[in-house]
Symmetry: C2
Subunit: 155 residues, 2 copies
DNA sequence: CTAAAATAGTTTGAAATTCAAACTATTTTG
DNA sequence: CAAAATAGTTTGAATTTCAAACTATTTTAG
């Protein structure tokens, strides 16, 4: 297929606009879908935190606050909430008792999987009708975004 | 190019994971880049609000609060801040004097364009080396996401 | 035509979120 | 072993958010 430089510019504009708008909507839908399920007490931010804590990692509080760029105090508050609601547990690290390792409860793991499934569904519907090479390209585009982000943030 | 179903599944997983993580980083970078420029007093949320108000639309407060899913009270507070900082103006609609139409000041328009330019840069770097047909596919993927979002939110 | 209802936006007071700084407990270093 | 460093929590203040009450204006219905 051939494209004029005007068509490409138009595509670029469309893609830029769409990206600016879409993600906010995804966050919102994510939250509203999760609230329709048995996890009615969860906000989008908490979902994000649960995703970061992850299924298997036993991350520390410091690691999570670094990844999410939240102050340690803020994270402590968030973790208190999620602990109270029964989604996470704190485990004192026996090698170094200053450290708290974080884990998901079974309820937390269910939520994690529900969230992940929603995203998979989104990606599947987004790539419907794409063949393997197109999907590869899509993946490449995301790698490029990550590279761009790294460059900008390290400069 | 040929792909096994396992490879595709792996790509799907990669793409899902990447999407979950990337947006938060983009928001953060957007804000930190804008704060390095002459617009040091702007947060990511305010940037988003300025984008929604837009260059030409003269949207009303209600429209904006509906789009951004913010309560009217919250939006009033945000608009007060942006007005104080000189990015937006409120215009009483002379046909219906209950209505406030929103517009950007010249400073607000400069910020709008700087934000847009950043996104264009991101999209360009993300699609580097893609040909016209690949870019088309990318665009199609975003249309699919929009469709998915509409379906989920209207069901 | 006008009183009642509806609509647009602001104000208010309370709850939630966030941060930085001070603090506690523990481990590492010199 | 005392001092410094590190992990996480607590604290108090600032900011953000919401829903409900409120003001001003327009629309509707009798």
């Amino acid at each position: 297929m051939n494209s004029t430089s005007d068509e490409i510019k138009d595509d670029y504009n469309f893609i830029s606009e769409a990206l600016i708008d879409i993600y906010d909507q995804i966050m919102r839908i994510e939250e509203s879908e999760i609230r329709k399920s048995r996890f009615k007490d969860i906000t989008a931010k908490e979902l994000h935190l649960i995703h970061t804590i992850g299924l298997h990692d036993r991350k520390t509080t410091s690691e999570v606050s670094r990844v999410l760029k939240l102050s340690k105090g803020t994270l402590t508050a968030n973790l208190n909430n999620l602990e109270k609601k029964g989604y996470i547990i704190r485990m004192i690290n026996q090698q170094d008792r200053r450290i708290i390792n974080l884990g998901l409860t079974s309820k937390g793991r269910l939520l994690y999987r529900a969230h992940y499934a929603f995203h998979r569904q989104l990606v599947e519907s987004c790539l419907k009708g794409f063949d393997g090479s197109n999907i590869r390209k899509m993946r490449q585009a995301l790698v490029n975004v990550e590279k761009f982000i790294d460059e900008v943030s390290s400069k």
